[in-house]
Structure formats: structure tokens, C-alpha cells
């Protein structure tokens, strides 16, 4: 495996290999000194062409703990405005001789286009509405640690599926691992023919949440309110927010997950967010383990 572009093209064994590798890094991350020399001398560029604090920080922490040399490039807005094509940008970055580039981009497919221009490993840190593979992997890691497996689990995935790369990557991953995904959200947030991806589509969250083992919430982007997706926050939260009452319909030991950053009081109630069933902060710390595993498998594995 040279690149990590998405979950779509991974198989079950590859996914399990990443999760199992993450376990050993989890151990390292428990130690007092959390640094290992695994990627010493390797250069990684973090190219974030869309604002992101969590994912970028998580990758940076993972890279530094593996002793890689890391460089951050934040691009505000599109490079095209400065008259540079994506190909030019990529060739300039290539000239710096990186071993890997972690890329976040608002346009679907951009990481894939870069693999055709650059020689280094490309790691997709989220592209448009397309995929966010490391998020799905850290979600999977969290589920696996808590539930011991995936087979037969029912996962409710709620909210803005249409604009969510997290949703797509999770749907691929959970299906491959034998879980069942039920989705729900307002009609404006359900992409066409999504059922063909192998999910059950429910009109209201209460049907999707029924007897679920996992309730995974998606972030509603506030600015999209003006974009004809839902009338207002009040109405959205009335029908689509995860409340304690709604959560009661799930299994007693159901986990509550959210890729963050969450809008409290919009898609998720404070009480649920901070409640016993919530593993939201665990997801964040697992993110580092999983990203270390991905970097190790793409960059370090071959040298061993």
C-alpha cells in the first residue's frame, strides 16, 4: 500500500491490519516518553487547503511521535486565485522531496489527482464530500476496542449525509466489516440513491436509532442553514438532535460517537455529549494511534 486515498479500495484484512498496528502505538502513547524513532529522517508535508484544527493536530502529533520531520502548509482559499494550477502546486511540493504528503482539500478527488503528479505517498485527510479514511479508521478502532468486533452491529448514522466525507468512509468501512448501517437525516441531506451503498434509509432518527449498538452523529454546518438545507436550528434540533429520549431507543450499552467539532444543542444534546455513553473524547485520542499506524504502514513498513 503506497497511498491512503479512501476506504472504498481497502479490504477487510488491510483494515484489520491497520487497527491491530494501532494497538501497539496505543501502548506507546500510554508511556511517559511517547516518542519512537520509527520514521526518523522521513519528511512529511501536511498540506491543508481547508481549515482544520483537529485532524491537522492529530496528524502532527502522530508524525512527531514517530520522529518524522514535518512541515505544515496552510493554503487559504484556492491556489487557483493566485494563478497557480494544482499541477504547479504539486510539482513545487514534490521538489521538496517529501516521503509523504497528508492532504485536506475542499474538492473531492484532489488527493487522487495528486498521486498522478507526485511520487510520494499521499494520505487523504478529507476531500470534499468524498472520503475521510483516517476518521473512519479511528471510529472503527474505537468501536472495535469497545465492542470487540463489528459483525452484526447496528450503527445509526445521523445528520448531514450529503455533505459528509465521514459518512461515506464509515459506510464503506462498516459494510466491509460486517456491521449494518441505518442512516437518517432531512431529505435535503440524503444524497441520491444512497441506499445502493448498502445502507438502510430511515425517515426519522427514531427508526434508525432503534436497537442500535452505535449512534454516530454528523456535524451540521451552521452556515448551510442559509443554503436551503433546513429551516432553522430550532426546527433541526427538534427533529434531528440526539436527545436522551432518542438515545433510550438504542441498546442500553450503545455508544455515542461524533467526529467533531460538535454543535451542542443543534445535532447533539449537552447531556448526551457529556454522558456515560459518549466516547467522543476517546475517538480523539484513538485518532493519534490510528494515524501513527497508517504512517508506519505506508512509510516505515517497507524498511523493516
Amino acid at each position: 500500500m503506497k497511498h491512503l486515498l479512501g476506504i472504498e479500495n481497502l479490504n477487510k484484512d488491510q483494515i484489520m491490519n491497520i487497527l491491530e498496528t494501532a494497538v501497539s502505538f496505543a501502548e506507546i502513547n500510554q508511556r511517559q516518553i511517547k516518542k519512537v524513532p520509527t520514521l526518523k529522517g522521513k519528511t512529511i508535508i501536511n498540506f491543508f487547503a481547508e481549515p482544520s484544527t483537529r485532524t491537522r493536530t492529530s496528524f502532527e502529533v502522530a508524525e512527531k511521535r514517530l520522529s518524522a520531520d514535518t512541515y505544515n502548509i496552510a493554503v487559504s482559499g484556492s491556489a487557483i486565485q493566485k494563478g497557480e494550477t494544482l499541477a504547479d502546486t504539486a510539482l513545487n511540493l514534490q521538489a521538496m522531496g517529501p516521503d509523504a504528503m497528508v492532504i485536506r482539500h475542499s474538492v473531492s478527488g484532489t488527493p487522487q489527482l495528486l498521486t498522478e503528479i507526485m511520487d510520494c505517498s499521499i494520505i487523504n485527510a478529507g476531500d470534499g464530500f468524498h472520503e475521510h479514511p483516517t476518521q473512519a479508521l479511528l471510529d472503527a478502532y474505537t468501536i472495535w476496542q469497545r465492542k470487540g468486533g463489528f459483525e452484526g452491529l447496528k450503527v445509526a448514522l445521523l445528520g448531514d449525509i450529503y455533505h459528509s466525507r465521514v459518512a461515506r468512509s464509515n459506510i464503506y468501512l462498516l459494510n466491509k466489516m460486517g456491521a449494518h448501517v441505518s442512516i437518517s437525516g432531512p431529505g435535503t441531506m440524503l444524497p441520491k440513491e444512497v441506499e445502493k451503498m448498502g445502507v438502510t434509509v430511515e425517515k426519522l432518527p427514531k427508526y434508525a436509532v432503534q436497537d442500535a449498538d452505535i449512534v454516530m452523529m454528523l456535524r451540521v454546518q451552521n452556515e448551510r442553514a442559509s443554503n436551503l438545507l433546513y429551516p432553522d436550528v430550532r426546527e433541526y434540533s427538534r427533529y434531528f438532535m440526539l436527545t436522551p429520549e432518542l438515545l433510550k431507543l438504542a441498546k442500553k450499552d450503545a455508544l455515542v460517537m461524533h467526529p467533531g467539532p460538535a454543535n451542542r444543542g443543534v445535532e447533539i444534546d449537552d447531556v448526551v455529549m457529556d454522558g456515560e455513553q459518549s466516547v467522543i473524547l476517546e475517538q480523539v485520542s484513538n485518532g493519534v494511534n490510528v494515524r501513527m499506524a497508517v504512517l508506519y504502514l505506508l512509510l516505515g513498513g517497507a524498511d523493516k
Binding site: E8, S78, I80, T85, L86, A87, D88, H105, S106, V107, S108, G109, T110, Q112, L113, D127, G128, F129, H130, E131, R165, R168, P191, K192, E193, V194, K196, M197
Partner: protein, 424 residues
């Protein structure tokens, strides 16, 4: 100067004949169609094993001249046309300045006169600056030689203005060519809306936007009892609507492009910006419906919508790339696939490539004694691999690079002059 195209299979659907014969051309005109031509003092083109057809007409190309000559100019555009077997082309008005003034129309004719001989007929803007706000000087544009009017690429959204454009243009016998698109539905769209836009994570342009505007425009044509031509039909629903209005007797003609019968929205999976086209590549069901419409006569013509863009404009993120692909030099083999697959007889293929004569009122459509010798000779069985670097067009934006195809243009003849011949 005498030219004999010898022993080809002459496909002449308008005359109702497909026969092995030879064509004698003198002074730019066909002087004889005979199995036993006199080749004394003549240049002989051996067309054994080839089809000889009336010159192909492409009623929908973008030549970018004036204004964007780095993408294509009239000379390179006409060379690409000749290489694709086209003896006449109709150019869309979205140049800079737009073809909304008679000076630009004259400029196009003057440039084309210095070209390779392929005939160029400008389609003028329907509204000033293609802005969809007020009428272009359609009378003067017609007088200057514009062949039709269209706001291709920036369709008229205001239905009252559409009505006035068609009413006013009728005074000068100018037909409106409809690029049918609801801009509200396509504003942020990157591809067809459906399963693949969901999987690829892109905003979709639903079929409804095209079909509803076709319905509106056909209704207007029927109501006003005026002809209308529907450009680049891409979807099954659009076909059904055109069929409905044709059966009611409305004066409607329609075209589709080779890419809509070849590719579907699945092709966008590689995020190649050369698959970004407007209207977008649709579903497999749409592709099959468009092929059936070619068979049934619901769609009258093949037009390429040749839309050159410079490589650096396409070497960008998908959402930032302009829509459109070059099409002149790949059209024939892509459409000939329907002949090889026994979907369409060769006569229908030739009809589709020459229907521009009746749609736009251009000379041509048949090979007959006394008529200008605009002739396309092609080898239906020649196999080759599309290489974008061999294009005569200035641009390389094609999704068909590397495609193995069957069928090639052997020679393109305009007014008796060979403007292109292929070295096999």
C-alpha cells in the same frame, strides 16, 4: 483540376442510394457519378473498401476566436474539423467579444476565408452579451450571415425574454438553438446527480434541470408555431419530452454528442477533469435511451459540442475546472461503434452526421451532379488508438485519450479540394 474518388461505397441517404461507384469532381462540383469514370488527367483517390458520404456538418462547435485563441482559433478549429471529416461547422457565439454584433460575425467569416476551406457558419448570440437580459440585434446579425441564434452555455432563464427572442427572430427567419439548463439546479453541480455523485462526493446536476427547460422551450416553439433546435440532449427524460412534442407536430429538431452515447457518469471516478462536461455525462439508462433516440429518429443529428480548453485550465481541482471537451477528431469512430454493434445502419450514421443541412439550412446533405463537392471518405474498419498529442486542435482536453477505436476519416473534400487525408 479533376478529382476522381474511385470505387468507394457511396452512401447517399437523401437520394436513397448506397452503391459502389465513383465520383468525378471538376471545378469544385460533382460532374458525374459513374461506375466507369474517365480518369484521364485526373487525380485519383482510391476509395476501395471505404464509405463515401456527403460532407459531414457539425452544427455545434466552440472555436474560441475571437478572445480565447490560446484554446483554439478559427484556423486550428477548421483543421480539427477537417481531420474529423467535417466540411462545415456552426460556431457558438460565446467568444470574447460575444458574437452579438455584426463586426464579430464578419470577422469570423473573414478569418474562415483564409482557412483550409472548411465552411464556417456562425451562430449569433440571442441576447446582448449572452446576458439573458435584452435582445441582440438579430436582424443585423442575420444580414451579416449568422445562421441561427443561441445563448449556448448561458441559457435564457427568463421565459418572457425567451418568448420575445423567438418572436423577434422569426421576422428574420432565425431559429433559436436551446442549450437547455435550469441554472438554479446546476449552479454548484459538478456532475450528473445520481448514485455516482453520491459515491464520488460531488454536487449533482439532476436530469430534471435539462428536461424541464427542454419542455419549456418546446412548448414555446409549439405555441409560437416556430422551429426550435435542442442542443446536446443527454438524458432519457429529455428524449421522451422531445418525442412528445414532435408527435404533436411541433417543429423540433435535436442533437446529441458522441460522448453521451459512449460514456456515463461512472467515468468521473478518476476525477479526471476531462470528464467534466455540460450537460454532464448521465447514467447508463440515459446513454441507452439516447442511442435508441438516434435509432428512432427522435434525435436528428450528431454534433460534437467541441469545447477546447487549455491544459493548464484542466490541470486543476475538479470543481475549479471548466466544463467541456474537444470532440471533432474523435466523433466518427465513437459513433461508428453503433454501426459495428449493428445498432444503426451506415445510412443512418451518415444522416446523423449530415442533418445540419436541413436543421440549419446549409447547402449539402447529398452527393449529386451539379452540387458542390463536399465529401467525406472514411474507412469503417481501420483500427487506431486515440492520441491527444496528434490532434490538430490546439487543445488536448479529451477523455478518450488511449481509447482503441475502429473507423477513421480517410479524406475530407470541400468544394472539390482535399483539405485532409489520412496517412494510413
Amino acid at each position: 483540376m479533376k478529382l476522381v474518388i474511385k470505387n468507394g461505397t457511396v452512401v447517399n441517404p437523401l437520394v436513397g442510394k448506397t452503391e459502389k461507384t465513383s465520383i468525378v469532381i471538376e471545378n469544385g462540383k460533382v460532374t458525374e457519378i459513374t461506375a466507369k469514370p474517365d480518369t484521364k488527367d485526373a487525380e485519383v483517390f482510391n476509395a476501395e473498401g471505404m464509405f463515401v458520404a456527403p460532407g459531414f456538418i457539425d452544427i455545434h462547435v466552440h472555436f474560441r476566436d475571437p478572445g480565447f485563441e490560446y484554446k483554439e482559433d478559427i484556423f486550428s478549429g477548421l483543421e480539427a474539423a477537417a481531420a474529423g471529416g467535417f466540411t462545415s461547422v456552426c460556431t457558438m457565439p460565446n467568444t470574447k467579444p460575444a458574437a452579438d454584433n455584426v463586426e464579430t460575425i464578419r470577422y469570423m467569416y473573414e478569418r474562415a476565408a483564409k482557412g483550409n476551406g472548411v465552411k464556417l457558419y456562425p451562430i449569433a448570440a440571442a441576447t446582448k452579451g449572452l446576458k439573458g437580459e435584452s435582445l441582440a440585434p438579430i436582424g443585423e446579425l442575420a444580414e451579416g450571415g449568422a445562421i441561427a441564434i443561441s445563448d449556448d452555455g448561458r441559457p435564457i432563464q427568463n421565459t418572457d425574454l425567451l418568448k420575445r427572442v423567438m418572436e423577434y427572430a422569426s421576422t428574420f427567419d432565425m431559429m433559436y438553438v436551446s442549450h437547455s439548463e435550469d441554472l438554479y439546479l446546476s449552479e454548484t453541480a459538478q456532475m450528473n446527480e445520481g448514485y455516482y455523485s453520491t459515491v464520488y462526493g460531488m454536487t449533482g446536476n439532476p436530469v430534471v434541470g435539462e428536461a424541464s427547460q427542454i419542455a419549456r422551450d418546446c412548448m414555446m416553439a409549439e405555441y409560437l408555431k416556430l422551429p426550435i433546435h435542442i442542443a446536446h440532449v443527454s438524458a432519457a427524460l429529455s428524449v421522451d419530452i422531445i418525442k412528445f412534442f414532435k408527435e404533436r407536430g411541433a417543429k423540433i429538431t435535436a442533437e446529441t454528442a458522441p460522448h453521451y452515447i459512449t460514456l456515463t457518469d461512472e467515468a468521473l471516478g478518476g476525477f479526471d477533469t476531462n470528464t467534466k462536461i455540460n450537460p454532464p455525462l448521465r447514467s447508463e439508462a440515459d446513454r441507452l435511451a439516447v442511442i435508441k433516440a438516434l435509432k428512432d429518429g427522435i434525435i436528428d443529428a450528431i454534433a460534437t459540442d467541441h469545447a477546447p480548453h487549455h491544459q493548464r485550465e484542466k490541470e486543476v481541482e475538479f470543481n475549479n475546472a471548466p466544463s467541456g471537451i474537444v470532440g471533432l477528431e474523435t466523433a466518427l469512430p465513437l459513433v461508428l461503434k453503433l454501426y459495428h454493434d449493428k445498432e444503426l445502419p451506415i445510412e443512418r450514421i451518415v444522416e446523423l452526421f449530415t442533418a445540419g443541412y436541413k436543421i440549419m439550412g446549409i447547402d449539402g446533405g447529398k452527393i449529386e451532379v451539379g452540387a458542390p463537392a463536399d465529401i467525406t471518405v472514411f474507412d469503417p474498419d481501420y483500427q487506431w488508438t486515440v492520441d491527444k498529442n496528434m490532434f490538430k486542435s490546439k487543445s488536448r482536453n479529451t477523455p478518450f485519450h488511449g481509447f482503441h477505436v475502429k473507423g477513421a476519416v480517410s479524406a475530407t473534400i470541400v468544394d472539390g479540394k482535399i483539405v485532409y487525408s489520412r496517412d494510413f
